[in-house]
Structure formats: structure tokens, C-alpha cells
Symmetry: C2
Subunit: 584 residues, 2 copies
């Protein structure tokens, strides 16, 4: 067995301790290659992966050099994610020493949930996804022109990434402890003396205190830290009505995001009820458990009435993220895009494609931000939502007084297009008819209403945002909901009202207007407001203190808060939280 | 400031790291005393506490030496738990150096949630409760005879302990993060690459897999690890119907016990519905979330129908711990008591005082263990539950064919008394009429149906158990429920049926029959089956592997399990869990 110390520089092993590295070392055998020898042959069966111990290896495709791998690099890791043939040639440069680990050996340890194997697998998954994301983003950015070769490479890359993520996602959820969240005691509880206060007999004291004053639940229980992520599974991601249970991975994922981005404890609750009244009844019944409720992935139009009824009946914040999260981020992006375009929000005309939960809420939010009611037109699969169309539902509120009947009619001359509908809905010829510096939010996922590079080729003055992480200006709800809830919980808000949502929008927009350096060392990148940076990046540490404190202030100003926070002290606390606590 | 290193030996600081000890050091000032000088005077106001840095101090009460405190000891710590006067004199022996910390300074840091102060406060709370428990247990054990002085001391000690625990319990729940539990991600989730599988887009894969095969939820989500601790707050501890929200501290405490004893994730759900149908509807609606449901603190008779309906409608284990937890432990205790008494379960006669949830379930469980139906009599506040009394409810099932009308009538000559009723119900003259080697389970809390020492003075052949931790043979539900659920979850049982409960009972009884050494170093104590050891202690590490595997085996044998476990491998896994994971 090799000396585990020789793995110290390995990129994938930084999270592993000495014992765990020793296990990795014990799994492999040393393979040696002389200068020019082929280590991996494209087209060969993929049965192992390698850690470069000494020397250099050149990765190439069809004779074209793709990368150089030094000591510490991982090679052939795709073999872990699906059974396949090698995609690249790899050749030794000088004398090369590798640790070769058979994929089947390693995978069987992962399947047996051996902790070091599970940990390494997670590190390799992260590394591989990160590599694919970086390469794809790079390709996408270079693909400004009509380079057919690049476009083909991008497409095949996208396919590989999709397949790899799909395979890894299943494994990621299954290995180690199934699922993504666990419950942990936060107080000393290891001895009988601890349990005498955590449980009987001492626990009677906080119970009695809460019985006498229900507000004390915020002091003595985790209620005030706990958000219920509640769904009925009727509109999960883009997958539709897959049922409450099948939505659980998304809801647990949401809980992970709450914790990672704002240290909010969140637990998923899958409610097996589709009817509005039945669902609301369940949410209302279990509400004492929570400090706030994040409704998630509930289809329209039921979601509107469900949210309204929950808000009416409960004295804690209820927030349907699919509506308001999207609305807040898109609103912030539009505000900054207008600044670049030199336009004022009262003057602009807006057209929506898509009138579901996100579309409807974003439209209403833009009105709250200052767009004039008669400057906004919604469209859906049936065309323009016009007065007299006779929808007879929530859409009537947004019906436009217009002769336009199609998106093509409605979009002519408008300043802003917001798409929350379907791939390819926005044709280049429509985009061409938009006003100068057209603002295009093409948020359909994974394929936007218009392809990013097609939009840029059609109009070089376009200011574009999508829902995708591989293009600039991603509208990603994680930029809002964790912080909105953090602020609402900390001031014990009774609800999240419009003023709080508007305040969050402005706070997010402002952050993108303040230049910032991201990355570290040689990869520092300066972000400044521009056509390709109108929305903060998800991992921006300024978001937590700024957005949460702004939301809390709006709640206090509006009389919605139950406690008054010292804002200066609160911001300091949030800044410490962002720095110390969040392992981003 | 003193050198933080001088705090290394301090009993309360073992959990604190170097930085945290430095903070403690910075809080205090050094006080020096010469031989014979009084450090603390009984009756003086308590404004600070001390850490002995050098020398010895003698603690005495009314001139009688109570303890000697060496370097590293804490003195005067009661000042932290309530404002009071000093209860003891403390005098220096030789030259003594102390770190004196003003209680008000320290408490204000705790109230500001400064992490090192919160941590130290928890350590001091643990230390103080532990001291009081140990001293009280010692006094109680010495109080076999009629020592009036000892009895008085015990009573005043009990009052101090109660007051201290009440004060500390409130603080314990409030300091640091309010409440006792938090939600933690279990998978790598710190980078965009991690989130691409934890959330969108990768998360769609497990969603689709579960949609196509709901059983996959056990593989890809935390469902199979997660127990809902669900209450409506109608019978919380001995406090009665205090409402769902006020029950939250108990439910969170239960979640802590699940995690600490069996690594089961549990989350409390407070349901604001008292009606049987409404409550069941809510539980059924949210059931997809959980792998099992622990009903808790729901009053009788509603609890019976709620449990029955939940079991009928759901395909996951539903277990009302107040009923079955008590039944399992009491059953195990009775089995072992019978062994000591040399009696056979088919022959014995049993009388119950109390026919609520715990009484009814324990009675039924004793029948399942082999007690003959016509050998068992229940009594409640109205006397004997006899055939023809006309209860017209669940009690009819247990009505006895007897002429006895009072507990006094019914108890004459019986072998076993089980009390789950009220303090003092079992009079010495009743105990005198019981058969030889009477088995008395006086489980009313905090004051049993007959005082422990009174029972022993009345009958020296009594075999006695109570619900209290300060007497031998505590019937503590934590000995059963974490392990019953662990076993049921791991084999994905559809329910927890009678066979599983009976199996758990025998497993627990067997453990107490196998001698074991507890404690460490000079405090090792050998436990062997005896009148004062018929039930395993709560912190016994044998419980997890033995009880959980026995329950899982019973589920597999009975066709209730959805997966077959390799039992040998499973026991090994549980043994590792008990050793590695549980910080008991």
C-alpha cells in the first residue's frame, strides 16, 4: 500500500481525514507509465479511476489536447457515474505514477455505506459536476458567434453533464444516510442531568410558561427558527403532479438551502391532499409547530387560494416561494436592467408569457414596484389575457384592455418580456419588434423561452436573464427566500406583506449595483453592474445581512413585527452568521 | 488575567476549547484566602461563583462538614440558578486561590447568547443537576429506616433540587438557539456543484424514481429515518390539556431522546385539533413525510381511537408511547420480578390502579405476556371496573367478573399491583394484604402510589418499581421507544404489532438478567438481577442492538417488514452505532 501522505495534495481528498485517506490508499494499486505511454484509451471500457501521484498526464480528444493533469488530479472519474467507455485519451508525460482504483471495488464500498467511501464519493461527485459546469459555462460563453463546431461540442457536453448529474443525483441521495436532512439536538443532552431539564421533570417549566403566554414559544422552543416546507406535490419542478411523496426530495432540498444560506431550520411536510379546503385545514392544524410556512410546488390556480386562506387564518408568515421568490428576484433584475437601459419603471411596457403561479405573482409584483397597470399585458397558451376573454378566475384581475390577441401582437414595442412559460416561445422575430435595449427574462427551465446566444445574436442590445446557472443573470429563488424568512422570523413577523417583498427586491437590486470581487487567488473576478450582471450571484455573502435586515426593518416599520430588533446589532449578528456559520 | 491553562483540570470545563477557556479566565478575578479564612458564609447574599485554582476548601453546613473541594472544583454555583443566599459555609484549608466570577456579569453574557458563555452555562447546569441528583439518591438510599433527620434533609434537598431544575430548565431552553432541536443537511451541500444534485436539476431524478415506485422514498429521502412526534397537547406530562403549542417543549425533548438513544431523526408536530376525526385526518394527510409516527401525550379515551384509526389508515408504524412504551417496560419489569419471586405468569393475580392510556395498555400487554384474563382486575377513581358497571367505553373490554368494588377489596392476595394513577393510592394496609413477595409498580409521577421507603418498611419482601430516577427500578419509556422505532424503521415495518411489542419486552427483561458493570474507574458498579435491579438502566448500551434487532426480527417473522435484514450484520451495525455514534 502506498503511503497515505502521498495523497495529501489530491484535489478530491481535502475533506478527508488521515484515516479516511488511508482507506483510499488501501483501495488502489500503483500503476507506472513511461513517457508517451497511453494510460487511458478513448473507446476502451471504463473500469477504474486514477489519482495522479507523480508526473503529468495529458488528456486529449481526437488528438487535440484538452487538459494537463498534475500530481493530485483525478482521472477517469466518469467511470463512477455511469458504465461507459472512455471519452478521452490520456498519455504520460515523463515518468508517471498513478494510484489505480477499480470502480467496482469502490462502488461496492459506497453501496455498503462505508463512511470514508461515502465521503470520497461525495467529493468526487462535487469535483466532477464542478468540472462539467465550468467547462460548459466556458463553452457557452465562447459561443457568441455562429461556430458550428463549438455549438456541437456544447450540445454533446450538455448531454454528458445531464447524464452524469442524473446518475450522480440518485447515488447522492442514497449513499450514507438516505435523504438529505437529519434532526440534531442543539443543547447538551448526553447525561441524565441534561435530560432532567431537556425532558422530565424540568421540561414542565417551559410548557407551563407557554401555556400562560403563547409568545414564549419563541423563547423556549425551536418554533421561531423552524420553517415548514409544505407541498401537496401537484406542481413539482417541471414534473407536474407527481404526488406529495414523490416531491419529498425537492422539499428536503429546499430545507438544505434554507439551512445553508440563512441558518434557518426547515423541515419538509408532504401533505397528501389536493383540495384547497383540505390542504388549508391540514396546514392550519399543524401551524403551531412552525415560525413560518413556505408553501412549495402547489399548482395554480389552487395555490392562490391556499396561500390566501393560510395567510388569513394564521399569525405566522406564509410564503409561496414559486410565486413570490421568483417575483422578488425577477423584480430586482428588472430594476437593474432598467438602470442600464436608462428607462424609468413608470414608463415601461411589459409583456408576460405564462400566467401561472410565478407569472401572475411576478406581474403583480412589478405593479407594486411601479409599472403602470395599463402598461402590462399577460399572455398564456391561449394568447393575450384580455378584458372580456372571460377567464372567470384569478386572471380577470390582470386582464388587459387591448386589441392584441397574441404574444406577437402584444410584444411589439414593449420594453420588458418576462417568460415563465415554455421553451422557444419567444421567436427572434418577436424580439426584433421590442423597444431599444429590450429586457428579456426567459425563465422557463431547463430550456428558456429563447436561447441565450440566439437572443444575443438577434439583438445585441438585449439585457437577458434566464433560470439557468450556466448563463449570466440567473433568476434563482435561493437569492431571496432564505433571507426573507430569516428577517421575518427574527422579528417574529405575523406575515410577509407586500412592503417586505418590495423591500427585499430593492435590497437585492442594490447589492448587484455595488461592485464586488468574487473567487480567490488567481480566479478573482470583479462583478460590476452590467448587461451580464444585474442579479447577485447565489453565493454572495452580502445577501444574508442586507436582505434579512431590510425585510425585518420593513416588518417593523409596517407594524407586522412582534419584536423590535436593534437593526445595527442585528446586521452585525447576520454578518457574523454569514462569515462563521455558513459553509458556502 | 489568569493563565487559561490553570483551568485545565476544572470539572465543568472539559467540553470547552482553549478559546472558550480563555473567555472564562477573562471573566473572573483571582481571590486569595489563608488557612481557616471563610470564603463563603451561609446566609450571605450569593453574588458570584468560584473555580478553585489552588488549595482546598471545606464545605460545611451548621458546622458539619459536607464536602471537600479541590483544585478544579466549582463553588457557589447555585447562585447561577436562582437569586438566593448561600446555603453552606466554605472555609480555606491552607492557602487557597480561587477564580471569582460575578454571577451577574456571567449571566448577562449568557443572555446575550455568547457561545462560550452558553456552553459553560450548560456545563454548569449539568454539573449542578448531577450533584443534586447524586446527593439526593444517596440520601434516599440511606433512608431505609425511620431516621427523622435524614428524612428532613431529603425533603429539603428535594425542594432545592426542584427549584434549581425549574430555574435551570427555563434557561436551558432559552440560551443559545432557542429550543432543543435543529435540522442539519447530511450531504455535501457547500458548493454549486453539490446543489446541482441536492436540488435542481439533479433532484428531479429521485422524484421521478419515487413517483414510479413509492418504496424508493426509503432510499432517496429521509422518510425511513424520520419519526413524527405528534401531539394535540391534551395530556402533556402530568399537566393535562395545556394545548398543542404548550406541549412543544416535551415533543422536542422526545425528539432529542430519539436521536440520542437510537440515532432516529424525529421532529415534533403540534396539531391544534382535539376531535378524533379531525386529528386523525391531519396525521393521515402528513403521513407521507414520515417513516413512523409516535403519538404523544394525547388524552384517553380519544387516544385509543386515534391510534386505532391511524394504524388502520396508514402503512407505517404508529405507536402511542404513553400506552405501549409504559406497557413494554412495565411488562419487562414484571417478568423479572416474577423470576425473583419464583412465580409463573400464568398463575399470578394482578390489580391495576388507574385505567387511563398507560393502565389500559399495560393491562392488555400483561395479558399478551401470559396473565390470565380472569386474574386481572382494573380499578379507577370510581373503584373496580366490574362487569355490569356500565362504562360503555373501552373499559368494558377489561371489566372483571368480581364482587370486589374497591381497590382494597381487589388487592387482597394478589401478586402484582400496577399503579398508573395518583400519589398515595396504595395504603400500607393494602400492601400488607398482598401475596408473598408482592410486586408493586407504583408509577405515578412525581409522587408514586406508595412511597418507596414506606413500601419497604411495610413489607420487606416487596419488589418495587417506580417512575422516578432516584429509586431503583425506574420504569422509563426511553428504555423502549427509541429502540422499538429503530428496529421497525430499519426493516421498514408497516406497523408495530403485538408480537413486536412482546419481543421488545422479553429483550429488555433478558438484558437485566445478564450481569453488567456500569460506571468507570473507581465508580464501577456491578448490576445483577435483584430486587433493586429488574429493569435495565436508561444508558445501557446493550439496549440498542438487542431491542432494535429483536423488534426487527419479530417484524420479519410476522410478515410486517418490507425488507429482510441480515440479522447478524444488523446487530453489528447497531453495536457500532451504540459505541461510535451515541454520545451518551
Amino acid at each position: 500500500m502506498i503511503d497515505p501522505k502521498s495523497l495529501d495534495g489530491c484535489e478530491a481528498l481535502t475533506d478527508l481525514d488521515e484515516r479516511e485517506r488511508a482507506l483510499v490508499a488501501s483501495l488502489g494499486t500503483v500503476a507506472r507509465f513511461d513517457d508517451g505511454e497511453r494510460i487511458i484509451r478513448a473507446g476502451a471500457e471504463a473500469e477504474s479511476f486514477f489519482i495522479v501521484l507523480r508526473g503529468q498526464a495529458v488528456v486529449s480528444k481526437d488528438g487535440r489536447r484538452v487538459a494537463v493533469s498534475d500530481a493530485g488530479s483525478i482521472l477517469g472519474e466518469m467511470s463512477l457515474f455511469y458504465d461507459d467507455v472512455r471519452a478521452y485519451d490520456v498519455d504520460a508525460v515523463g515518468k508517471v505514477e498513478l494510484l489505480e482504483i477499480r470502480t467496482s471495488d469502490f462502488s461496492s464500498r459506497v453501496l455498503r455505506h462505508e463512511p470514508p467511501a461515502v465521503k470520497l464519493m461525495q467529493a468526487l461527485g462535487r469535483l466532477t459536476v464542478g468540472r462539467l459546469q465550468a467547462q460548459e459555462t466556458d463553452l457557452a460563453r465562447r459561443l457568441a458567434g455562429e461556430d458550428r463546431d463549438l455549438a456541437d461540442r456544447l450540445a454533446s457536453f450538455g448531454a454528458v453533464r445531464k447524464r452524469m448529474i442524473a446518475s450522480w443525483a440518485l447515488r447522492y441521495h442514497a449513499i450514507g444516510r438516505p435523504g438529505k436532512i437529519a434532526v440534531q439536538p442543539t443543547k447538551a443532552s448526553g447525561t441524565a442531568a441534561d435530560l432532567a431539564v431537556a425532558y422530565s421533570p424540568g421540561v414542565a417549566e417551559p410548557c407551563l410558561a407557554i401555556r400562560d403566554d403563547p409568545g414564549r414559544a419563541y423563547e423556549y422552543t425551536s418554533k421561531g427558527q423552524l420553517v415548514g416546507v409544505i407541498t401537496n406535490g401537484t406542481a413539482v419542478l417541471g414534473l407536474g403532479d407527481i404526488g406529495a411523496l414523490a416531491g419529498k426530495p425537492v422539499m428536503e432540498g429546499k430545507a438544505v438551502l434554507f439551512k445553508r444560506f440563512a441558518d434557518v431550520d426547515a423541515i419538509d411536510i408532504e401533505v397528501d391532499r389536493k383540495g384547497v379546503a383540505e390542504f388549508v385545514e391540514v396546514v392550519a392544524a399543524i401551524a403551531p409547530t412552525f415560525g413560518g410556512i413556505n408553501l412549495e410546488d402547489i399548482r395554480a390556480p389552487e395555490c392562490f387560494e391556499i396561500e390566501r386562506e393560510c395567510c388569513r387564518r394564521l399569525d405566522i408568515p406564509v410564503f409561496h416561494d414559486d410565486q413570490h421568490g421568483t417575483a422578488i428576484i425577477a423584480g430586482a433584475g428588472v430594476l437593474n436592467a432598467l438602470r442600464i437601459a436608462g428607462k424609468s419603471i413608470e414608463d415601461i411596457r411589459v409583456v408576460f408569457s405564462g400566467a401561472g403561479a410565478a407569472g401572475f405573482a411576478t406581474a403583480k409584483h412589478l405593479l407594486a414596484l411601479g409599472v403602470r397597470r395599463d402598461h402590462l399585458t399577460m399572455t398564456d397558451v391561449a394568447g393575450v389575457v384580455f378584458q372580456g376573454r372571460g377567464d372567470g378566475n384569478y386572471l380577470d384581475e390582470m386582464a388587459a384592455d387591448t386589441d392584441a390577441r397574441t404574444l406577437a401582437d402584444a410584444i411589439a414595442g414593449v420594453d420588458v418580456f418576462v417568460g415563465v412559460s415554455a421553451a422557444g416561445v419567444l421567436k427572434p422575430e418577436m424580439l426584433e419588434t421590442m423597444a431599444a435595449d429590450p429586457i428579456v427574462f426567459a425563465l422557463a427551465n431547463p430550456t428558456p423561452e429563447i436561447d441565450y446566444s440566439l437572443a444575443l445574436r438577434t439583438r445585441d442590445d438585449v439585457i437577458m436573464a434566464t433560470g439557468r446557472s450556466d448563463y449570466p443573470n440567473q433568476v434563482n429563488n435561493v437569492i431571496a427566500f432564505p433571507y426573507v424568512f430569516r428577517g421575518a422570523l427574527d422579528c417574529r413577523a405575523r406575515e410577509i406583506d407586500q412592503a417586505m417583498k418590495v423591500a427585499a427586491t430593492h435590497a437585492i437590486a442594490e447589492i448587484a449595483r455595488e461592485p464586488v470581487d468574487v473567487g480567490s487567488g488567481s480566479t478573482v473576478e470583479r462583478l460590476e453592474l452590467s448587461r451580464s450582471y444585474i442579479i447577485p450571484r447565489p453565493f454572495d455573502r452580502r445577501l444574508l445581512p442586507r436582505v434579512a435586515s431590510t425585510v425585518a426593518k420593513a416588518a417593523m416599520d409596517g407594524g407586522v413585527a412582534r419584536v423590535e430588533l436593534d437593526l445595527e446589532e442585528y446586521v452585525e449578528r447576520l454578518e457574523r452568521m454569514a462569515l462563521d456559520h455558513l459553509s458556502l
